[in-house]
């Protein structure tokens, strides 16, 4: 045994970590400076008191179980801010810029044994994790924003092609596994090249934005629309048969042709041609469905545009 350094207690008070000790009856035995500063209790006021009586906000049963397991197993226990933000409601150093109610904490519950290796006390340490918590949460927000941005088409704010394809693949796989059906609509702006050439790309962009907006007004919340290419749009409709898909396609066509698009003094009528198809028992193939809808779209164009045609074998 090394000789006892005379200032151990002073050192415990120097730590930038909360340290306190309770016995089996949750009577407080030690309370360091950090705890004094952050709680409303001075050492002299809390030593000998019951911990729960001092901190009524504490989830009592949970804390009892935690301490109980340390006594029984003679093994440390832990909490992390990521699952349980704090043990005690302490203020923190980011009171102005932090946007958090309380200090986020990592806690350690360690057994203190006597000579016979019997646990007599539990020492709880509380580490201030507020800064790390704030930056981790900012990082998570940034990742979520990146994910959102990478799935969206900047012009129309619809899903972009790669995200839409991923969602459609998942839907087709879901049907393969669990059954059900899905319909698919592909549509294309009529005479878009001419609109662009005669009125400029800015006018063309406005047409695409306007069409995307009109689609959103018609579609149901489960329908998933994406911008597939320049002026080409795709929609898959979960749990929708081909007759229902025909109705949706026709509703879209009407909605888009109903009003002209105006931009900076120019007003032009717009319309779309659409092809649609639906899955059936022996057709759950992503590529095949796209191909079928494409063929139907081509037929709609050939038949004079501003119309919807369903795929037939």
């Amino acid at each position: 045994m090394t000789t006892q350094f005379a200032y151990t207690h002073n050192i415990i008070d120097c730590l930038d970590t909360g340290v306190f000790v309770v016995d089996k009856h949750f009577t407080v035995q030690l309370w360091n400076k950090f705890m004094e500063v952050h709680s409303n209790f001075t050492e002299s006021k809390i030593i000998g008191k019951n911990f729960f009586e001092c901190f009524s906000e504490l989830p009592k049963k949970w804390f009892e179980r935690k301490i109980h397991s340390v006594f029984m197993l003679n093994h440390e226990s832990y909490t992390s801010w990521e699952q349980r933000p704090y043990l005690l409601q302490f203020s923190h150093g980011r009171s102005v810029t932090g946007q958090l109610d309380f200090m986020y904490q990592n806690c350690n519950f360690a057994p203190i044994c006597d000579q016979n290796n019997e646990v007599q006390y539990v020492c709880v340490t509380i580490k201030d994790m507020t800064d790390i918590a704030i930056s981790t949460m900012q990082l998570k927000e940034a990742c979520a924003e990146l994910e959102r941005v990478s799935s969206i088409d900047g012009l129309t704010h619809l899903y972009n092609r790669s995200h839409w394809e991923k969602a459609f693949t998942n839907e087709v796989e879901r049907i393969e596994r669990y059954g059900g059906e899905v319909s698919l609509i592909i549509f294309d702006m009529d005479y878009f090249k001419k609109i662009n050439d005669q009125n400029g790309h800015l006018f063309g962009d406005q047409v695409l934005r306007e069409v995307a907006q009109r689609c959103k007004e018609v579609l149901r919340s489960a329908d998933v629309i994406g911008r597939y290419g320049g002026e080409e749009f795709v929609i898959f409709l979960p749990e929708t048969n081909v007759q229902e898909a025909a109705l949706v396609a026709e509703k879209l066509r009407k909605k888009i042709a109903e009003f002209p698009v105006s931009y900076e003094g120019v007003t032009l009528p717009v319309s779309i041609s659409a092809g649609f198809t639906a899955s059936n028992t022996d057709n759950h193939d992503f590529e095949k469905l796209l191909h079928q809808a494409d063929i139907a779209l081509y037929q709609a164009k050939q038949a004079g545009r501003n119309q919807c045609i369903g795929y037939t074998d």
Binding site: W62, L73, H75, Y78, Q83
Partner: protein, 209 residues
């Protein structure tokens, strides 16, 4: 495979014996803590080659998706440094059952589910490691538990990280609490240097025996 890592028959028997006794103690203290009968399997010990890790893990953990909690353990001052990692593997998790086992009665949230995984792993680890440590006349220290994957495939357990060891000793123990149809596996893994240290302790104990 370097020869020094092979266990001879005496070492292997003795290690098996130590693990069996350790697990017996662990089972007892867990049963007391949970106030439920906890069944532990006989520890299965083997040496894993790093390059066969994935197929071995697939064999040891025959489940489609798993949640895994890792916890490091090490001894005080030894040469070479003795350290290892234990993985608690949950393959079919009913959080309501686990919460009952812990007598936690808070509202179920994703964070609370994680806390339950961490808590159960830490308890199982504590019981198990102190059982083995006592038999080895050692004391283990732990790092806090951390979740390394939730509902992931076994193949994704190690991600794309480069493995820094050549061989590892694996001790697998299965846990069961019948009443709550709770089951999980504990894998204690010791990399190269720690195997050598373990062998030196075993030799010392065998000499005394």
């Amino acid at each position: 495979m370097s020869e020094s890592l092979d266990f001879n028959e005496d070492q292997r028997d003795y290690l098996q014996e130590i693990c069996n006794i350790g697990m017996g103690q662990a089972g007892e203290s867990l049963s007391m803590l949970f106030e439920q009968y906890v069944t532990l399997s006989v520890p299965a010990i083997e040496i894993i080659n790093a390059h066969e890790l994935t197929p071995v893990l697939r064999r040891l953990i025959p489940a489609e998706t798993i949640s895994v909690v890792s916890q490091g353990f090490y001894t005080h001052i030894t040469n070479p440094k003795f350290c290892g990692e234990s993985l608690t593997v949950f393959s079919d998790t009913s959080f309501d059952n686990l919460a009952q086992l812990l007598e936690f009665d808070e509202e179920m949230t994703p964070e609370f589910e994680q806390e339950i995984l961490l808590e159960i792993s830490n308890i199982i680890n504590g019981a198990c490691l102190s059982g083995i440590a006592e038999q080895l006349s050692e004391r283990f220290f732990n790092t806090p538990p951390s979740i390394i994957g939730q509902s992931i495939a076994v193949d994704n357990l190690l991600g794309n990280h480069k493995i820094k060891w050549a061989h590892a000793l694996s001790i697998k123990i299965e846990y069961k609490v019948e009443k709550y149809s709770f089951q999980c596996d504990l894998l204690l893994l010791l990399p190269d240097n720690s195997i050598k240290y373990l062998q030196s302790i075993l030799n010392k104990l065998l000499d005394e025996f």
